[in-house]
Amino acid sequence: MSGGPRHWSLSRTVVNGVLVLATAYTLLPLGWLLTAAAKNTADLLGGNTLTPDNFNLGRNLGELASTGDGIYFRWYANSLLYAGLGAALCALICVAAGYVFHVYTFPGKEKLFGLVLVGVMVPTTALALPMYLLASEVGIVNSFWAVFLPSLVNPFGVYLARVFCTGYIPGEVLEAARVDGTGELRTFWSVGLPMVMPGFVTVFLFQFTAIWNNFFLPLVMLSDNKLFPVSLGLFTWNVQTRSFPEYYPLVVTGALLAVIPLILAFVLLQRHWKAGLTAGSVK
């Protein structure tokens, strides 16, 4: 490269160096969380988080399990239920709706789909207050359902499901089922749904993340701390730290445990979230 005409070009070292720096920015805070979770209150507040001595993770986990009669693991189980069941049902509902938009024609179909797309743009936090008031009129405020039911709706999931159906379900296959005399709903369940499974997993993964991370809705809806998801529970503990510093290691260790399932899911299901982000950006 030395003699030739020199373009304004980047060397391999610069390109990879910048990428390594960006990666350090994204990963180091998580590294800090990992080491901080192994510290006691004094070391944590003293800033001695990066040294390996005084390993306290076991003690912190013990404290986490015993504080408030193990309320943390109750929150954890709640989050698994809200996110696991909620995302599975939401993905099924979205795929069913996306399938209808792909397979059938009916009057006003594209208008209805347009309405769904407008739903994508409604700021969800603007809905929290009216939903709280509606839930209190129906009498489900401060209950499992108040958080669970709204988490089943994801207009963007319907859009994704339609895109996936277009890509994965060829018309001929449905035509064949039709000729065989298979019922409509049966065709969806045993032909359409299995074919669009990658789309199902993608919607599931994104909805699981959204529900697991949701903070505003539970904050508004719930007052009984036995119903809290992890996010809200950690928030209330963080408020406690102002008067009780011994909550610091609990918040940090609790945060670490709460991050693990999602990171695992994203590492294991790389193909799916990449497919989802790509499908979303095509149009």
């Binding site: 800033g47 409604v122 505003f216 963080n238 940090v252 709460a258 790509t278």
Partner: protein, 314 residues
């Protein structure tokens, strides 16, 4: 419920299924439509309704409460309230700082990742994306600790280097950094996927024409991933206006972050600390309207102009 009339059925017989023409799609679509109505459409309508009334006692709409129609009264009250306007000013500054910075950073990283020089592309994508898997509240907690003198190893390092930035005293850059950390990698993956979809012939043609990698990136690749840029812009605008979790975590630790630091925090405080539902609803509707306006502007700006592109291709 489905009336099968022969005249309309004949025209659609080819594309739609014969037995129970609308039965099956209705069953499959019903769960979504019901929930969408109950959890999106009705709340939007209810918010607008609430914003036009004032309730005398916070009795959650049970009988006996006095509800007075005020028309634009709540909107006028919100727009005259300095706290609300400051919240909007904060969010405007936040958007001006965060959105261009995040998009430029994500685009630059995606272009680097897309260049022939980058290695370990799968690893870099995953590593950059990982913060998105961290719940917003935990991301905010981590960074809050990293901003706190005494706890933060970063600040200790900076102090030995001679500077002592007051991160908790400057909430705006502090919150922008939290958002950058969570969203840049996510959008890198979107941009990278779009860049990978560019036909190779187009890029080869550019090389033949003598365009260097930087030139190719700016004048060939970037216009071709316009749709992705528009989508990211749209979702970023909608998400940014809803800013709540991060300042909520900082509120209490950083005195500069008041309880009405963003419009969402203002609405939350109005509703749940002062039981002023009309005001809370009005400010939520104003926020949603701002989001709708900005989304419209973003989609307009990003609409491709076919004539100019044809010229360029020719």
């Amino acid at each position: 419920m489905t009336t099968r009339t022969a005249r309309s059925a004949t025209s659609r017989a080819a594309s739609s299924r014969r037995r129970g023409r609308y039965g099956a799609p209705a069953v499959l679509l019903a769960p979504f439509l019901l929930l969408f109505t109950a959890c999106t459409l009705v709340p939007v309508g209810y918010a607008i309704h609430l914003s036009l009334y004032t309730e005398q006692r916070g009795g959650l709409g049970f009988g006996g409460t006095e509800t007075l129609f005020t028309g634009w009264g709540n909107y006028a009250r919100a727009l005259k309230d300095d706290a609300f306007l400051e919240g909007f000013a904060n969010i405007a500054l936040y958007c001006l700082m965060y959105i261009p910075l995040m998009i430029a950073l994500a685009l630059a990283l995606a272009l680097l990742l897309d260049s022939a020089l980058a290695r370990a592309k799968r690893f870099f994508q995953l590593a950059l994306f990982i913060p998105h898997a961290v719940p917003g509240i935990i991301a905010a907690l981590i960074w809050m600790y990293l901003y706190t003198p005494g706890i933060s190893p970063v600040l200790d390092l900076l102090e030995t280097a001679g500077t002592r930035p007051d991160l908790l005293g400057n909430p705006l850059p502090a919150v922008v950094n939290m958002a950058l950390w969570q969203w840049t990698g996510y959008n890198v993956v979107i941009f990278y996927a779009a860049l990978q979809a560019i036909p190779r012939e187009v890029l080869e043609a550019a090389v033949v024409d003598g365009a260097g990698p930087v030139r190719t990136a700016i004048s060939i690749k970037m216009p071709l991933i316009r749709a992705s840029l528009a989508m990211v812009g749209l979702f970023t605008v909608i998400g940014s206006l809803q800013l709540f979790t991060e300042p909520m975590i900082l509120h209490g630790t950083a005195p500069a972050v008041t309880s009405a630091w963003t419009p969402n925090m203002y609405a939350y405080t109005a509703a749940f600390e002062r039981s002023d539902y009309g005001l809370a609803a009005a400010s939520s509707v104003l926020l949603a309207a701002a989001a709708a306006l900005l989304s419209f502007a973003v989609t307009r700006l990003a609409r491709p102009r076919p004539e100019s592109r044809k010229e360029r291709a020719a």
